[in-house]
């Protein structure tokens, strides 16, 4: 009775383990098929969403902003699905935004290095002595990606409850370990942890709704109360706050809205 979030350096291995773990536990499996739903809901091409998940943002920041929006849409839809519980989630970067939810078991799977190098390079066979170079490059890119978008390093083991390397441990043994861990009582949902994920879902839904008009918006939710923080000039502060308030108030699950507009560094009115 929990959520299992699987992150992996190899998409193929992560997918295989997620599907088999879901089958073993009789859970639903959430993977990149959800991107079709996100694309339809927010009117963004599916390949854009995949690009946001896979590609490292450019140093100039333009692609980072678009990626941020795509990821926010994905986050909102994924969290909505995770409210249903008994789900294994993979390939949607959920390990970076399902944080502080006690009934979520977060697992990192590390593929066998030579197999991983083959998957990354797309070249077929990769000599074992060249594998570390491919893997190291990929790891640095992922580190940059996760730090840019979520300010968390996805390669840091302390982000997970369990890290399993498939160099020696076989896939079926890894699935057994995950299924066994998910059965522990401390991964059972509790009133507080359910409230936390509900708050996270509401905040991400509100943020996804505001992001296009207000790219620097930050949202927190507690119960039905939503706190929105963004930047703006002193001159249009009140107007902006009222517009956000009106928009958010109309969203489902919102009881009360608080809007804080901070002065933008280069937009200060005389």
């Amino acid at each position: 009775m929990s959520i299992i979030i699987i992150s992996s350096d190899s998409y193929e291995k992560g997918e295989e383990i997620a599907h088999n773990a879901a089958r073993a536990l009789d859970y639903a499996c959430l993977d990149r098929e959800l991107l079709a739903v996100v694309a339809a809901r927010y009117g963004i091409p599916q390949d854009r969403l995949e690009w946001a998940l896979e590609s490292s943002p450019s140093s100039w920041g333009r692609s980072a902003r678009l990626q941020d929006r795509c990821l926010a849409y994905m986050q909102s839809t994924t969290l909505g699905e995770l409210l249903k519980d008994n789900t294994v989630c993979h390939g949607l970067a959920a390990h970076l935004y399902v944080v502080g939810i006690s009934h979520a078991l977060r697992v990192r799977i590390l593929a066998e290095p030579v197999e991983l190098a083959r998957e990354i390079s797309g070249e077929g066979e990769v000599p074992p002595e060249r594998a570390p170079r491919f893997i190291d490059r990929q790891r640095k890119l992922r580190q940059h990606w996760s730090l840019t978008h979520y300010q968390l390093d996805e390669t840091d083991p302390s982000q997970y409850d369990l890290v399993i390397s498939l160099s020696q441990i076989h896939t079926d043994e890894a699935i057994k370990i995950i299924a066994q861990t998910a059965g522990y009582r401390r991964f059972a949902p509790m009133t507080y942890s359910l409230r936390c994920i509900k708050d996270a879902e509401l905040a991400s839904r509100v943020r996804a709704g505001l992001l296009e008009a207000y790219p620097k918006v930050k949202v927190r939710a507690e119960g039905g109360t939503v706190i929105v923080e963004t930047q703006g000039s002193r001159r249009n502060k009140l107007k902006k706050a009222a517009a956000i308030k009106e928009e958010v108030q109309a969203m489902e699950g919102v009881d009360y809205v608080e809007v804080h507009i901070k002065n933008g560094l280069f937009k200060r009115a005389p």
């Binding site: 840091d156 369990l162 399993i164 991964f187």
Partner: protein, 270 residues
């Protein structure tokens, strides 16, 4: 019938995990014992060995290679203990020192920084700030140590078969995981893995006996055939050839010794 190495940071509960695993499996549990063995065998005061494994090499050490000689003694002592099988080692760098031996289950136990700070505060009766700074400094020192001596980052999950985060998972959960993993077929010793271990012991012994005099030697052993690699010939090459031949006669189990100057060193060489 396995060897388990448990890597841990300070206050990560790794020692408790190691002791419980050893008690449950009926294995020997060692850490400091390796230093005592090395101290006895090579007649070096234990305090110098402790200093060698605690502090990262200074600029001066990088020229004198003193630490590398001490590490060669410690590695030999650990390999001798591991040769007997059924062992839990929770001392420093077990995962690096026994690299390449297939029936070694490599585990890292980590804990939340906040939990570690609390433990340090209550044990040392110091302020939160002091405790945090001590722990961070200790972590940094250990990372620097492994990087400078072996070119590896101990925080890299790919070096381990399992990384267990003691937070939601308890010490008993970690013990259960490790005991189950140790029973897997791939961690059972076989005649082939025992032969590899014997070769490692021989290579470590040759390296330990040469390390004091010849700083840059690396040693590999396969089926009792010892290959000594050195960066370049130089004036010491003739002397090294002589020493190698002498060791070949003195050490039991060596069939043949060769010295290879200026040849790229294979990864399995110690």
């Amino acid at each position: 019938m396995a060897i388990i190495t448990i890597s841990r940071g300070s206050y990560s509960k790794g020692k408790e995990v190691a002791e419980k695993v050893a008690a449950r499996l009926g294995y020997e549990c060692i850490s400091r014992e390796v230093l005592l063995d090395a101290s006895d065998r090579f007649n070096i005061p234990e305090v110098r060995l402790i200093r060698a494994i605690h502090d990262a090499p200074s600029i001066l050490d990088r020229f004198s290679h003193g630490k590398q000689a001490f590490m060669a003694y410690i590695r030999y002592a650990l390999a001798c203990r591991a040769q007997k099988d059924n062992l839990v080692y929770h001392g420093l760098a077990g995962h690096v020192l026994l690299l390449g031996i297939p029936h070694v289950l490599k585990v890292r136990v980590i804990a939340n920084l906040e939990d570690r700070v609390k433990s340090e505060m209550s044990r040392e009766k110091i302020s939160e700030e002091e405790a945090r700074s001590l722990i961070l400094r200790d972590d940094q020192e250990r990372r620097k140590w492994t990087r400078s001596l072996y070119g590896l980052d101990p925080w890299d999950s790919a070096l381990y078969d399992l990384v267990l985060h003691i937070h939601k998972l308890t010490v008993d959960d970690a013990v259960a995981f490790i005991c189950e993993a140790a029973k897997l077929k791939q961690f059972e010793s076989t005649p082939e893995t025992r032969r590899k271990m014997d070769d490692l012991v021989t290579a470590c012994e040759v390296k330990a006996l040469l390390a004091d005099e010849y700083m840059d030697v690396r040693v590999a052993c396969e089926f009792g055939n010892v290959l000594i690699y050195t960066k370049s010939g130089g004036r010491l090459q003739h002397k090294l050839q002589e020493s190698a031949r002498k060791l070949g006669r003195e050490i039991k189990g060596i069939h043949h010794v060769e010295v290879h100057p200026g040849v790229p060193t294979p990864a399995q060489a110690v």
